[in-house]
């Protein structure tokens, strides 16, 4: 069925409410912003000496860490949307939306639009802070668009994953189930040093971790030397396809549960 005007109208309505509540409740918005800024300060600032490690061949440690923070912040912004979905179902708003929308996948679309718009603000802030901290950008405009696009895809992946859980559990108690796997996957990637410098158990784990491809792709784009981009996009789109099914089946589960 082709989405019509009403479908997108419902999606925008869900997105509008999500953003309205986000920006009128600092208690919800600020933690989502503090989180990446804290990691940026801790990693790019506190661990800057790691950049002096022999064979650490990335041109700028702040830029190296920024790419991780970008992917991390984007993914966590997706997870936070899962929290909102669960909260809405817990408080009954989920039911209102289920009743008012003729095609319910527009609800998921609405949360996704809201998450993407939220992300822009997060990106502007972490990019601004990183530039103020002296981050050097070597990528061209196209490279940077590619890098931020990877961030957006990471956001959609995490959103679909957490939405699938939120629709199934419809309770904020499922928060750790949404957050922990994403958090673990992020930190099992080459966070502090390039992949080539990883040793021990983390090395093979990072090799098969899909986040690694996204991270390497983003770093190469930031450096103006794109490598592994097709792999990064391929993995991201593959995960989105799989997790879209997961989220939509979760939505069906929510429908069946009433």
């Amino acid at each position: 069925m082709i989405p019509d005007r009403k479908y997108f109208s419902a999606g925008w309505a869900v997105a509008w409410r999500y953003l309205h509540n986000l920006y009128t409740k600092p208690a919800v918005f600020v933690p989502g912003l503090i989180f990446p800024l804290f990691f940026l300060a801790a990693f790019a600032g506190g661990l800057s000496a790691v950049g002096d490690t022999p064979k650490f061949d990335y041109y700028d440690f702040t830029a190296f860490q920024f790419c991780f923070i970008l992917i991390q912040a984007s993914a966590l912004a997706g997870v936070f949307v899962g929290f909102s979905i669960a909260g809405d179902f817990e408080q009954g708003m989920g039911r209102r939306m289920m009743l008012a929308t003729s095609r319910r996948s527009s609800i998921l679309l609405g949360y996704a639009i809201g998450a993407a718009l939220r992300l822009i603000v997060v990106w502007v802030i972490i990019t601004g802070v990183s530039l103020l901290a002296g981050m050097e950008v070597r990528g061209s405009g196209y490279d940077l668009v590619g890098m931020y696009s990877l961030g957006l895809l990471a956001n959609v992946v995490a959103l679909l994953f957490s939405a699938g859980i939120a629709f199934r559990f419809r309770s904020l108690q499922a928060g750790p189930l949404m957050q922990m796997p994403v958090f673990i996957a992020l930190f099992l990637a080459p966070v502090y040093v390039p992949q080539e410098l990883l040793t021990g158990w983390i090395e093979p784990v990072a090799k098969v971790n899909p986040v690694t491809a996204l991270l390497n792709g983003a770093r190469s784009l930031m450096a103006g030397d794109p490598t592994g981009i097709l792999l990064a996009y391929g993995i991201a789109f593959g995960m989105i396809a799989l997790l879209a099914l997961w989220a939509l089946r979760g939505l069906r589960r929510a429908e069946v549960a009433g």
Binding site: D4, R5, K6, Y7, S9, A10, W12, A13, V14, W16, R17, H20, N21, T24, K25, Q91, G92, M93, R95, R96, M97, M98, L99, A100, T101, S102, R103, E255, V256, A257, G258
Partner: protein, 346 residues
């Protein structure tokens, strides 16, 4: 409020009824919350779905509003199958569920904006429709206040307005007046009646208040333990279970036996209030004068004499063998005729 004809004055009666056949909902590893109910609601009718807590009222509403798929059976709302045409059904129905699902951070007007957009109303119509409904439910002065500060009655009225934004042909109200003060309740009844009589909206209303079903509904379905125990107009249901009863309280407790003998000439004994005597009349209300004369001629002075019409609670009792939970306090005052003081005194 006089009993009304279904769909009276209804301009829109085109296939906006409800047809339910053998509807079942069984939850995982649980009993059947709804156990094979069948009912028909005519277009423009107000159908009262009466039953105690846990009887299956809300589960039925959830199935009819496509929030919950039936385990078995079928239901058509506005001519559409709820199981297979959910998206189309949702375009034609409005629902205000038991818990008014409102966002405490949004104002009343913002809720209208959200709801009109969720239903896909054209942008130019959204504000107009929202303002119109806010005014209709009497929330204009509070429209720009956050809903978190609304009273229960205001929330219910806003919920009703939200259910109406897309001009639904069938409206589901799940216990809409639970917890409301009498004034808010009356105002909501008035609006529901107007929707049915003037706009021709079919209303499916669940309630555990006998008075509400009696006053509002053209027809009533009584549900108990997931099954329909009785169905019909309130007056037909009451007539079905029978005749009114008379309850008397003799002034002199020692003449209670004589009073009982007199009463039993007119009917069969039924449970009465403490120290009082009550009989279900054999011939109906016409016997009241004869009863008064009998007490008068026997010289038995009465502290009170009351005529009790059958209530829906009596119907529920007759059909299920027990009283409806919470019945009595809300209904007895309205349903009983004024007592005739000291009828036998002379």
């Amino acid at each position: 409020m006089p009993e009304r004809e279904a769909g009276q004055g209804a301009p829109n009666t085109q296939s906006n009824g409800i047809e339910v056949e053998g509807l079942v909902r069984q939850f995982k590893n649980g009993p059947k919350a709804v156990d094979g109910i069948s009912l028909t609601v005519e277009p423009g009718e107000i159908y009262g779905f009466l039953g105690p807590n846990g009887a299956g009222k809300s589960t039925t509403v959830h199935m009819l509003t496509t929030l919950l798929p039936p385990t078995a059976g079928s239901a058509r709302v506005a001519g559409l199958d709820v199981a297979n045409q959910g998206a189309e059904v949702r375009k034609l129905i409005g629902a205000a569920l038991q818990e008014a699902a409102l966002d405490p951070n949004l104002t009343g007007r913002e809720h209208m904006k959200l709801q009109t957009a969720l239903h896909g109303l054209p942008r130019e119509e959204r504000v107009r429709r929202g303002d119109e409904l806010i005014e209709r439910v009497g929330l204009s002065s509070a429209a720009d206040r956050r809903v978190g500060g609304y009273s229960g009655g205001m929330k219910r009225r806003l919920d009703l307005a939200l259910a109406l934004v897309h001009r639904p042909r069938v409206l589901f109200l799940d216990e809409p007046t639970t917890g409301l003060d009498p004034q808010s309740r009356a105002s909501l009844w008035e609006e529901v009646t107007r929707l049915s009589t003037q706009d021709g909206v079919t209303v499916f209303l669940t309630t555990q208040y006998l008075e509400e079903a009696d006053q509002l509904a053209n027809r009533v379905g009584i549900i108990d333990a997931g099954k329909i125990a009785a169905e019909g107009t309130p007056s037909a249901l009451k007539a079905e279970i029978g005749r009114p009863s008379v309850e008397v309280l003799p002034v002199d407790p020692e003449r209670r036996g004589e009073a009982e003998q007199i009463l039993l000439r007119f009917g069969t004994a039924v449970p009465a209030a403490r120290d009082a005597l009550s009989v279900r009349l054999n011939e109906g209300i016409n016997e009241l004068a004869a009863i008064v004369r009998s007490f008068d001629s026997a010289g038995i002075e009465l502290a009170s004499l009351g005529l009790n019409e059958p209530t829906l609670d009596d119907v529920f009792l007759a059909k299920t063998g027990r009283h409806l939970e919470g019945a009595g306090e809300a209904d007895s005052a309205e349903m009983r005729l004024p007592e005739v003081e000291a009828a036998g005194s002379s």
